[in-house]
Symmetry: D2
Subunit: 117 residues, 4 copies
């Protein structure tokens, strides 16, 4: 499968919503809720597992979790579009901020939050 650009997927998602007259429900507030709910449904697959088990989901579970991850991605793309956010550019901006907050030499092997250094 050829990898469509994010903009192409966003256009398809918008068409999907328009055909169903669902744009009226897709305010940023509602989409942020939907995104958070899908993230929780994804998390549910890992809830009672230990960390090692979470690395080795049975295939059927892995497929289900992958579909929840896709739902997260779908609402992320919809929300970016409704907020007028360029997702890729903003991601590079955020990665640059994170690199500054967490210099490799300082944080190596530690999971502390940047405010705790």
């Amino acid at each position: 499968m050829q990898e469509d650009s994010i903009a192409v997927i966003q256009a398809k998602l918008k068409a999907f919503a328009v055909e169903r007259d669902w744009e009226q429900f897709h305010s940023p507030k509602n989409l942020a809720m939907a995104l958070s709910i899908e993230a929780a449904e994804l998390m549910e697959h890992f809830m009672w597992l230990d960390l090692t088990q979470s690395e080795n989901l049975p295939e059927e579970k892995r497929r289900q979790a992958a579909h929840e991850l896709a739902d997260v991605f779908i609402y992320t793309l919809r929300l970016a579009e409704r907020m007028g956010v360029d997702l890729i550019q903003t991601t590079y901006e955020k990665m640059a901020i994170n690199a500054e907050k967490y210099p490799a030499d300082k944080v190596r092997g530690s999971a502390k939050k940047y405010t705790e250094y």
Copy 2:
């Protein structure tokens, strides 16, 4: 800015984690938690707003919310990589499932869940 493919961003995120010896923390279970936490931080920007206000965030708020959305995207990409999931292909699969669950003629203008029809 040229739009890198998702695989390129994933490689950069992996390098970021490896340089900091953070791969040890990035089990799928932990990444799913991190994703859910970032989704909540995004939602916080909309918590007390009504739906119309959420369409019109002041610029500084919009920039902050965009950065939280980028964090959601970052953890989505990391988790896809750690689970061995092709995010784009899985998203198209999920969109096909959604199209079948929610035929446009049947659901137009309604926000009911597919189990309620």
Copy 3:
């Protein structure tokens, strides 16, 4: 129904887990995930509603949402017990902190976060 104290409900929840040999799954990390997942399931009932609609759920929806709220409460009680936290006393402590952070005269009618004043 006589209102049992929180400690009584906690003892019943503990017995429920012990009888099923579920204490092994109830680490604070897992319970915090479970709590967050139940909160999302509760939120799902309100996802596509506007604020006024959310005040007037149809009776069957209200009953379902009430059960999700009970699940949130159940995991809150379990987690408090496993963390050795006195929930009522800590709640009064937190209410005192909130009263100091948000003096009535200063914040009346505003939903800003205390860091924004």
Copy 4:
């Protein structure tokens, strides 16, 4: 400290909101979002820990996590009041449902969801 009934705490929380003219923000939809956000802030304390570490938080972390748990409880109580839900009675109802869904003899030592048996 004498343990006030839940109704007493709910009355104090209502007074707190009324004094600040915050009842206008406390629709069930918004309170469900707030609850979910507090649950995520609680979860953040456990995000990168393994299950055993989560049983042994350093005292300062434990105190912070306890305060987040109190916030979860506060929004649970507020939402119950705004929805007209008797939290204790509904919790006993839900516990009875759970006992039926998960008979001890059938589920002992297993973390599967009831739909998976």
